[in-house]
């Protein structure tokens, strides 16, 4: 079994995602009942999206690595690890051998869990299996084993589904979204770490009275919600701090803006390819789960329209930069960059823990991202390896490092990194214990009473 898995891993690795992914997706589409041309179109679109993504990731590498190194040297902060952002990281993760296999594995595990009555969540959000693929890739990097990477990815798929059950009642109540849950490892992972601190903060009377108005913040900082402007600001500020020439400062601003716009466009093509397959998978799973009470598992992106989430997400931009500098002496090497654009994914599922209080949400987000920056720094060698394997960036030996702030900051990412630095049997045992903890969390969903959230006027939602 182990030997077969090793061979499969090597085969997937040598063929690369441009060949493997369209084949996997086309076959999956056929199994799910799609017509051959439809399934092939999906697979092909996915592969073409990857061509575009790798091109634009190359652009990111050339421009940003230089500025990152200059920043670290000139400022003496030691922040020499560049955050490549989730759009690039998602493609890199799907492009790894574990990533090639993750979607079918995710579907099978989810259907199995529903049949065993272990969950009510039916995850129709195939896209976000990339977070688990990312963890699998990290574990593969640490252990050198495709099988262990696959194991870690599978375990975290189950964990995300359990956490969706755990968070469902609170999320439903706050956002008024019945019948939906969020097995989105990123946001729900942050939420898990933030929950005990929320329990504490909700019991500090003084903090609750400092109300920040979400609408004012949203209107004042609104321009930072646009990637090209945010890219320009961040690029210009960091290049200025790195004491570049005026021309280079402006060019960096434009290049970062380009990265923030272009990579997501390519990822959009990937989503278009995935969409019909995801739709077929959803129909297939809904048919299998017929007659059971289920929650449809979606991307936490659905939650982001809430004013409190947007406002606190925008405030995360200065908080993340401040934390990165502040935590440099404590082992942070990550320079927040592209993921600054998506602070809303940090705050989406944290806001309900404190009834949408903007200040408390930002404090909790700060705790999660503070630990997370150090986690992301630890994962830099693994991410750098993924970038290098994608073949699009030449990495000077022992010099430039890449990481991804958002996913490095998911507790499960660095926890599994630590697990698998132990001997294999201990790592597997720890993973399974952690899985059991998640199972019990799912059995005992989070409530407002436990968190000590006062009954607030609920958010308007039509």
């Amino acid at each position: 079994m182990e030997a077969i898995l090793i061979q499969i891993g090597e085969l997937l690795g040598s063929l690369g995602p441009l060949i493997v992914l369209p084949v996997v997706i086309t076959i999956l589409g056929l199994i799910l009942g799609m017509k051959f041309t439809q399934a092939l179109r999906s697979g092909l679109t996915l592969a073409i999206a990857f061509v575009g993504i790798f091109l634009t990731v190359g652009l990111l590498g050339e421009n940003m690595a230089a500025i990152g190194n200059a920043f670290a040297e000139r400022t003496g902060t030691g922040l020499d690890v560049i955050d490549i952002g989730w759009p690039a990281a998602s493609a890199l993760a799907f492009g790894t051998p574990v990533g090639n296999a993750i979607i079918p594995i995710g579907i099978v595990l989810n259907v199995l869990l529903i049949f065993l009555g272990l969950t009510k969540t039916l995850d129709v959000d195939m896209w976000n299996f990339w977070h688990q693929a990312f963890i699998g890739a990290v574990v593969t990097f640490v252990t050198g084993s495709f099988a262990l990477g696959l194991f870690a990815a599978a375990v975290t798929v189950v964990m995300a589904i359990f956490l969706a059950d755990w968070s469902q009642p609170l999320i439903e109540k706050y956002f008024k979204l019945p019948g939906i849950s969020f097995p989105h490892l990123q946001s729900v992972g942050y939420m898990l770490l933030a929950a005990p601190f929320a329990w504490l903060l909700n019991r500090v009377p003084f903090l609750k009275n400092l109300k920040l108005d979400p609408d004012t913040i949203r209107k004042r900082l609104g321009i930072l919600g646009e990637p090209i402007f945010l890219g320009l600001f961040i690029g210009v500020i960091l290049a200025a701090l790195a004491r570049q020439s005026l021309v280079d400062i402006i060019l960096t601003g434009i290049n970062v803006g380009a990265v923030m716009l272009l990579i997501p466009r390519m990822v959009g093509i990937l989503m278009e390819g995935l969409s019909p397959v995801a739709d077929a998978a959803r129909k297939f799973m809904q048919k299998k789960a017929k007659g059971r009470e289920i929650y449809i598992g979606l991307d936490s992106a659905v939650l982001i329209g809430s004013p409190a989430v947007i406002a606190s997400g925008l405030l995360m931009i200065p908080v993340e930069i401040g934390l990165a500098l502040l935590l440099a002496p404590l082992g942070n090497r990550t320079l927040p960059f592209i993921d600054l654009a998506d602070g809303v994914f940090v705050t989406a599922m944290i806001a309900p823990l404190v009834a949408g209080d903007v200040l408390l949400t930002v404090i909790l987000g700060g705790i999660v991202m503070g630990v997370g920056l150090i986690g992301a720094s630890l994962l830099a060698p693994a991410v750098t390896d993924m970038v290098a394997s994608a073949g699009s960036i030449d990495i000077p030996a022992g010099y430039t490092n890449y990481t991804v702030m958002s996913d490095g900051a998911i507790p499960h990412s660095y926890i599994f990194y630590f697990f698998f630095r132990s001997p294999v049997f201990i790592a597997i045992a720890l993973s399974l214990v952690f899985l059991v903890v998640h199972y019990f969390l799912a059995k005992k969903p989070l409530t407002e009473a436990f968190l000590g959230v006062k009954e607030e006027e609920p958010k308007k939602k039509k």
Binding site: G179, G268, S275, D279, K283, Q286, I296, L298, G305, P307
Partner: protein
């Protein structure tokens, strides 16, 4: 030509899922449209030129009040898809 905005948190993730389904549907009805994808944080009323906004997430109140907004959630969950398609078509043909 009528204009459809597809809006989600990132302007790429769930809105791209909508794009495929909405375009397929409108094509089958013979309705020609121009489609743009945006992030919800980019939605400022003075800049919007849409006949209908389909969003997978809730929209700021100033948008909800002044524009035709259809929730795209049913297209993600598969529950109530037909009604959603009809609402989009209605907004475009009225």
């Amino acid at each position: 030509m009528k204009t459809v905005y597809l809006v989600c948190a990132t302007g790429i993730a769930t809105s791209s899922m909508l794009r495929v389904k909405v375009l397929d549907y409108l094509e089958s009805k013979g309705i020609e449209v121009e489609v743009f994808q945006y992030r919800v944080a980019e939605m400022f009323p003075e800049r919007i030129k849409a006949d209908v906004i389909v969003s997978t997430t809730s929209m700021p109140p100033e948008i909800e009040e002044n524009f035709t907004v259809v929730s795209g959630l049913p297209l993600l969950t598969g529950i109530g898809e037909d009604e959603t398609f009809e609402a989009i078509a209605k907004a475009l043909t009225d």
